[in-house]
């Protein structure tokens, strides 16, 4: 019995606790992410932003959460109920499960698998399903067309994200996320691969439906998107999934280009700060950039979005894969 407990139950419990901790961190990030997003947006427009509920409006997100939870869930009569409910759950589940392989600091990772980055890529490519299912199951024209739009958008930008990841992997020689970070000990990849950073940044915005690519939120001109028929906690799940995916993209940029938990300079005052603080600082900085883009750039039209994805980013990233690999091969510095 003791052996059984030690070899099966205890590891399971530890994994469970670790996952719960990571989930808690992600939810906290989402909580303060909304608040920071609204505050930054407001500051750019010379407004105050949320400032009524709690000190400095810090409890505004909690109030919104309660409001969303206690509203009635309205399911359209002719909707396919099963898939209608499954859609947001899939989106949220997929966005949260990617966090299992993110290394927050040296060795601080729930699942340190060899193909970590492939895992993230695979799981986030499932995010499309939540959107298509939600749009279709609503049994209404506008959500369906919105789902088609968003699905096409996500699939297109996934391609260039894949190529950017390949470029980084060429410089690392491993698919393990911790090794990707360790490979940046000498120089962060943002410096040699700066164009790729830009491509990845913009593609990340498009992939997570952030502004200026937030067509599902264009309720005035496009009757919003796949979540038009959703209300209450189902809508909240979509919202949460989107936020978790946004933070996942921040974490990905931090790991791929900004050296993860590594300090900016490997000298005295910087190495005292623990790695996890650097990680969250970098993520917060990337999220700040996301919010600034939201505040500064007007929304793209759908054909412009597709053009940018297929005619600009795809050729650039493809050329960069070829260039990087030839460069590494020519100077014989491939890992």
């Amino acid at each position: 019995m003791m052996i059984f407990f030690m070899s099966y139950i205890l590891p399971l419990l530890i994994i469970f606790l670790q996952s719960a901790l990571v989930l808690l961190a992600v939810l906290l990030m989402a909580y303060f992410g909304i608040y920071a997003d609204r505050k930054i947006w407001a500051a750019v427009q010379l407004r105050r932003g949320p400032n009524v509920v709690g000190p400095f409006g810090l409890l505004q997100s909690a109030a919104d959460l309660l409001k969303l939870l206690f509203k009635e869930i309205i399911i359209p009569e002719k909707a396919n109920k099963m898939i209608f409910i499954l859609g947001p759950i899939v989106t949220c589940f997929v966005a949260l499960s990617s966090w299992a392989v993110i290394p927050f600091a040296d060795g601080w990772v729930v699942a340190d698998i060899n193909v970590g980055i492939l895992y993230i890529f695979a799981v986030s490519s499932l995010g499309v399903y939540g959107i298509i299912m939600g749009g279709w199951a609503s049994n209404s024209k506008y959500p369906f067309m919105g789902a088609m739009r968003s699905a096409a958008q996500m699939v297109s930008y996934e391609v260039s994200i894949g190529f950017v990841i390949i470029t980084v992997l060429l410089c690392v020689g491993s698919l393990n996320l911790s090794e990707i970070v360790n490979a940046q000990k000498n120089i962060w990849f943002i410096f040699p691969l700066f164009p790729m950073f830009i491509v990845f940044f913009v593609s990340a915005l498009a992939e997570t439906n952030r502004p200026p690519f937030d067509l599902p939120e264009a309720e005035a001109e496009l009757v919003a998107g796949y979540q038009t028929e959703y209300s209450s906690s189902l809508f909240m799940l979509y919202f949460l999934g989107e936020l978790a995916a946004t933070f996942l993209m921040c974490a990905m940029i931090t790991i791929l280009f900004l050296g993860g938990w590594l300090p900016p300079f490997n000298i005295f005052p910087f190495i005292l700060v623990p790695g996890i603080v650097w990680f969250f600082l970098k993520m917060a900085f990337i999220f700040y950039l996301f919010s600034m883009v939201k505040a500064l750039v007007p929304r793209y039209r759908y054909d412009q979005l597709m053009r940018l994805g297929w005619k600009v980013f795809l050729p650039i990233s493809l050329a960069c894969v070829v260039l990087t690999s030839s460069f590494l091969l020519f100077f014989n510095i491939a890992p």
């Binding site: 099966y8 396919n80 898939i83 698998i113 060899n114 193909v115 492939l118 895992y119 890529f121 695979a122 799981v123 490519s125 499932l126 499309v128 399903y129 298509i132 299912m133 279709w136 369906f144 088609m148 699905a151 699939v155 996934e158 491993s174 698919l175 054909d303 412009q304 053009r307």
Partner: protein, 204 residues
């Protein structure tokens, strides 16, 4: 014990969802069950220690191929009334294809006993410290390079063919030409026209 348990969970889910693909009345449910069985198949690959293949299955089949299935089926106007007639029409072909596949699998399982060594399917066990991905890369880009390139070219031809079949240049579609927009200035976009108002009024 734990891996064995997982194995039975994955394989039972595959069989159950594969049966549901055939027997569910809504085609949309069929596709969703198909996706579920793909995911479980990748779970089986994970159990076998082939983590690269497992994730590639998720990326390619679930993330790309099945999305297209879902798109097509969602856009089809499906009539559930005549499903029995349709099933009857396609039953012989389906049975035939299924029978051939089943026969082939049986043949593969018993190939060591049936054939001489030259025709056997050889699985190689590689014992190194290398990861899955590195072993596969080493094999594909050295020993099986020609086959790999050929497969790539076939896919390329298929892609170009699909584009050629569907590409139509319609003249009435208005397109945005960014370079034209940027190269506009006041001399090309503003035009001054003299209108002789008096002659117009006199014509009236």
């Amino acid at each position: 014990m734990f891996p064995a348990l997982l194995f039975y969970i994955f394989s039972l889910s595959i069989i159950a969802s594969a049966l549901m693909v055939i027997f569910s009345k809504q085609p949309i449910n069929s596709v969703l069950f198909l996706i579920f069985s793909f995911i479980n198949a990748s779970g089986l690959f994970l159990l076998a220690g082939a983590e690269f293949l497992a994730l590639i299955i998720v990326i390619v089949y679930v993330g790309a191929v099945a999305v297209l299935f879902l798109f097509v089926i969602m856009m089809l106007d499906f009539n559930p009334d005549n499903i029995k007639e349709e099933t009857k029409k396609y039953l012989p072909i389906g049975l035939m294809v299924g029978g051939v596949l089943f026969f082939e699998i049986i043949l593969m399982m018993y190939s060591p006993e049936l054939f001489s060594k030259d025709f056997q399917i050889i699985g190689r066990i590689v014992e190194t410290d290398l990861t899955n991905t590195e072993i596969l890369g080493n094999l594909i880009y050295t020993e099986y390079f020609l086959q790999f390139q050929m497969a790539g070219f076939i896919l390329l031809v298929a892609m170009i063919g699909a584009i050629v079949l569907t590409l139509r240049h319609r003249d009435y579609v208005r397109r945005q030409v960014i370079s034209d927009q940027i190269s506009r200035d006041s001399s090309t976009s503003i035009e001054l026209i003299d209108i002789n108002l008096k002659t117009r009024e006199s014509k009236k």
